[in-house]
Assembly symmetry: C2
Homo-oligomer: 215 residues x 2
DNA sequence: CGCATAATTGCGTGGCGCGAAGTTTCGGGT
DNA sequence: ACCCGAAACTTCGCGCCACGCAATTATGCG
């Protein structure tokens, strides 16, 4: 890394970084498109690399597994957008409502096509990778929650625990939506699931007073 | 499968089924032991198979990846035990408290050795598999929640969503415990995180009344 | 323009997942 | 007690993938 390098958004950041992001994006989008066309089983890394115009070896310099490229195309910036959406919520809105609205808004823009999400659950390897990316959303979300509650995402447990719970509920909501009737909207299912989990800001005294005989 | 075959607990169920479970258990325990001794990088499938006394090809008939065998040894029956522990809770205890007590009790018996959990977070592939097994705990937990609330785990969203949120919070608690000081007990961290997520039984009218301008 | 750095690429290696065919072991029916 | 069908295990082998290494090329910067 030289003096100045890739900006987090990739805008106006030197030719090298832009090309790097371009190839990365070309690879992930090609992987997703091929997986949707042929099915994830019939996609070789050589195909993805050829589609993106790079060598197969270069592919491994960007993604360490075939599934990673597919999932990244779906959930890469969504993670950051969820955090940003939560920060953009009005400050006087209660924490739970702000979280629910932010996540629902970001989960439903883009194309939550049933085909696409169904693809993620078709193969065990893809499911695993999808779970991993789900947890990737937790960190930006935890930071946004921390900013809103005046806590520290690095040291306090509450923001991260809540983010983990929300991501778990969101994943279950997606699964449920897949098995539901066609008329059901993902936004409704997601809002319902998140509303149960999104809890009040942390109690000033986080110590629990319950008994703990075991362990 | 003939007339009578493997009982779910593996007791008194024909020699074939017992041998099957025995080899499966031998494989997973051997995988865990070798991973702890040499580190997960220096464990080949052939080693695990040789340690269990079976062929390498047979290994793939039981586990489709090397990491799966290691994680199964850690979280296989814990999933069922969590559900059983929740059902064993007194019926008059509130749902949230029952869930927290049940999960904390089952997470802390056995040997939540820091070494073992640290092993799961050492390698990305193992982390992924650990996340997957975390979700495996959701289904028994959701069934137990459904039984307690009078809902149906197969069709109602609440039990599964709550189980997903709980597993996410539990995973974050484990991560937090790894980075915490030595004096901190996993049970305390886990209880704190779960107490935030464990919510009241589902509202009789699950419909949300919030606005939903997007999508 | 020239050097340092980073990225890409070809090649080779080790390993994995799995399909097919053959062999051993178990279950149960007569 | 014996035998036959089925299930599990084994051996062989193929295709694919992740990665280290070294050479080549593109880029940043003075």
């Amino acid at each position: 890394m030289t003096v100045v390098d890739n900006e987090p958004d990739g805008r106006a950041a030197g030719l090298r970084a832009r090309k790097k992001l371009a190839t990365r994006d070309a690879l992930s989008s090609a992987a997703l498109r091929l997986a949707l066309e042929r099915g994830p089983e019939n996609v070789r890394v050589d195909d993805i690399a050829a589609e993106a115009g790079v060598s197969a070896r270069t592919y491994n310099n960007y993604f360490s597994s075939r599934e990673e490229a597919i999932c990244v195309a779906l959930t890469a910036d969504r993670a950051l957008r969820v955090g940003a959406a939560l920060r953009a919520q009005p400050a006087d809105k209660p924490l739970a409502a702000a979280i629910v609205d932010a996540m629902v808004s970001q989960y439903c823009l883009g194309e939550p096509d049933q085909k696409t999400i169904c693809l993620l659950f078709s193969t065990p390897a893809l499911r695993n990778e999808f779970f991993r990316t789900t947890t990737a959303m937790e960190w930006p979300l935890a930071q946004a929650i921390a900013a809103r509650t005046g806590l520290d995402a690095a040291h306090d447990l509450f923001p991260r625990a809540l983010a983990g719970a929300l991501s778990g509920a969101a994943r279950v909501a997606a699964e449920h939506w897949l098995g539901a009737a066609d008329g059901v909207r993902l936004a409704d299912v997601l809002r319902e699931a998140l509303s149960w989990v999104a809890t009040a800001p942390p109690a000033p005294s986080p110590l629990s007073t319950m008994g703990d005989p075991e362990c």
